[in-house]
């Protein structure tokens, strides 16, 4: 059974008074331990899909089924409880955290909210989470703004896996990072996926990264799916005009990986 099934999803906004579809008739599914990439030019609706799947905004039409359950039917406390299973990692790891927070507090929030560990047990769990993402447990006492961007994104991943989710939405999660750090973070994500069988909805405009981590890819154009399929196949032989344009805009792809 798929982790996430999205059917005929639509979200309309108004631009200059006229309604336009930011997301239009989008359907896809993601299986356990699978990475589905969503690519597309700026403004094609990638982040809107992420927010819809996370129930941060409400769709105008369509269905979202999560582990066989109608996600859109949930509200209030039941929705909040379900949120443990669908987590997110943002692009800007600094903006993603309360500027006053410490690393410990950021990781304490999900554990406390979902009653995952007793108060006495939480410091130990926080240390374990930090170690799981390759950070020193001593980092817990530091303020969020005192650690490096790469460390911060690791903390964001630690926070996302704290509630043992089956799906993590990553919206440009490595785009803001240095190339060297980016490789390490992708490595960590792949490792977590292998160990915990987490599915990723991996949003990126970088086809090189997508090719390295994604099993399948969906290419968006102005809110609609232009094409989809096996990530390597689509990137090697794009069929849609937008797919060809995206591949052409990424020249190093050809030499990069076999």
């Amino acid at each position: 059974m798929s982790v996430l099934t999205v059917s005929s999803l639509a979200k309309r906004y108004r631009r200059g008074g006229k309604p336009f579809a930011a997301v239009d008739d989008v359907s896809f599914e993601i299986n356990p331990a699978e990475t589905l990439a969503v690519a597309g030019p700026s403004g094609s609706g990638k982040s809107t899909i992420a927010k819809l799947v996370l129930r941060l905004i409400e769709p105008d039409a369509g269905r979202i089924d999560f582990e066989g359950q109608d996600l859109l039917a949930l509200s209030g406390a039941t929705l909040r409880a379900k949120r443990a299973k669908v987590q997110m990692v943002f692009q800007d790891p600094l903006a993603a955290f309360n500027p006053r927070a410490t690393v410990a507090r950021v990781l304490d929030d999900p554990l406390r909210t979902h009653n995952i560990a007793s108060r006495a047990d939480r410091p130990r769990r926080i240390a374990a989470l930090l170690e799981r993402v390759g950070l020193d447990a001593g980092l817990a006492a530091r303020a969020i703004h005192e650690i490096s961007g790469g460390q911060r994104q690791r903390v964001a991943i630690a926070r996302a896996i704290a509630t043992r989710p089956s799906l993590i939405v990553l919206d440009e999660a490595v785009s803001a990072l240095d190339v060297s750090v980016r490789g390490q973070i992708l490595e960590l994500l792949l490792d977590l996926q292998r160990q915990e069988r987490i599915a990723y909805l991996f949003i990126s405009h970088d086809l090189g990264v997508i090719r390295a981590v994604a099993h399948r890819v969906v290419i968006l154009d102005a809110g609609r799916i232009a094409e989809s399929g096996d990530a390597r196949d689509v990137i090697a032989k794009p069929q849609s005009a937008i797919g060809k344009a995206l591949v052409a805009a990424t020249p190093r792809l050809i030499r990069n990986r076999p």
Binding site: K51, L54, L56, R80, A81, K82, R83, A84, V86, Q87, M88, F90, D92, A95, A96, F97, N98, P99, R100, D109, P110, T113, H114, R159, T163
Partner: protein, 276 residues
């Protein structure tokens, strides 16, 4: 602690801080230096200042010690000013946060209420409230708060409106945090700096309003207040002007001190923020 250094570099802020320190010292020392009832008769009536060194500022129409009254009045002014400002900031921050964070109907309703309170001049509001409920220290504080919370509410709401769009608020929702916890634990503390920047103006206005209420005879009758002293002195303004001048000057200095110190804090924190 860096901003403290910036704070003490501006002479106005230092002057404000000194005045406030003096005022606080007066308020705290009042029951020690003048342990008796400041409203009790201490000597002959209308003794001018600097005549009798046991009554340095002389006595009023009823023979009460003016210096003792001044000290005890500082206590009332400071207590009322701080309590009313704290209440106004608290209520304003909570109302503004709820309105800005909840949006929709809740926002609409809360902002209409805020409008309603803001249209009535705050002094009239306080006057009406005290005349209906009756004068006591708590009622005076409540009456002043009634007209003072709307400014903080608006500022808090505006700040919350911008903060609630930040990623970290979405992050808190994704975590599954309760909306009230997001509003008050994640958003409110980050919306506070511009709200707190209003506090000096609110404290100063509260002290003045309290004085004005007392002047009109609507202060707590069991407390010495500067406004009450000015009002009493008015009846003998020609023969004993110092009875009005002494508390009047104290009032002006206090408001000035609060204002200067407040400006100093705002400025030095602004410096700190632009440096970081």
């Amino acid at each position: 602690m860096n901003w403290l250094r910036h704070f003490f570099r501006t002479p106005e802020a230092v002057a404000g801080a000194l005045i406030l320190a003096l005022l606080a010292a007066m308020a705290l020392a009042a029951p020690l230096l003048f342990p008796g009832d400041p409203q009790a008769i201490a000597g002959p009536a209308l003794l001018p200042p600097f005549q009798d060194w046991s009554l340095p500022l002389g006595t009023d129409r009823l023979g009460r010690d003016v210096l003792a009254e001044l000290f005890h009045g500082a206590r009332t002014s400071l207590a009322v000013g701080l309590a009313a400002a704290a209440a106004a900031l608290l209520i304003g921050a909570v109302v503004g946060t709820l309105a800005g964070f909840a949006g929709g109907l809740i926002d609409e309703a809360l902002m209409r209420i805020t409008d309603a309170f803001q249209t009535v001049p705050s002094f009239l509001l306080a006057l009406a409230f005290v005349s209906i409920v009756g004068p006591s220290l708590g009622v005076v504080v409540a009456a002043i708060t009634l007209g003072a919370w709307t400014g903080p509410a608006r500022v808090a709401r505006a700040e919350v409106l911008s903060i609630r769009e930040r990623d970290y608020v979405a992050g808190a929702r994704v975590i599954g945090m309760h909306p009230l916890e997001i509003a008050f634990r994640e958003v409110l503390p980050n919306a506070l700096p511009p709200v707190l920047a209003l506090s000096s103006v609110i404290v100063a206005a509260a002290i003045l309003t309290e004085a004005a209420l007392s002047f009109l005879g609507l202060g707590d009758p069991n407390r010495v207040t500067w406004g009450g002293m000015i009002s009493e002195g008015r009846t003998v303004l020609r023969t004993a002007p110092f009875l009005s001048i002494v508390p009047g000057v104290a009032l002006v200095l206090t408001v000035l001190g609060v204002y200067l110190a407040g400006e100093g804090v705002v400025e030095s924190t602004a410096v700190r923020r632009s440096l970081s």
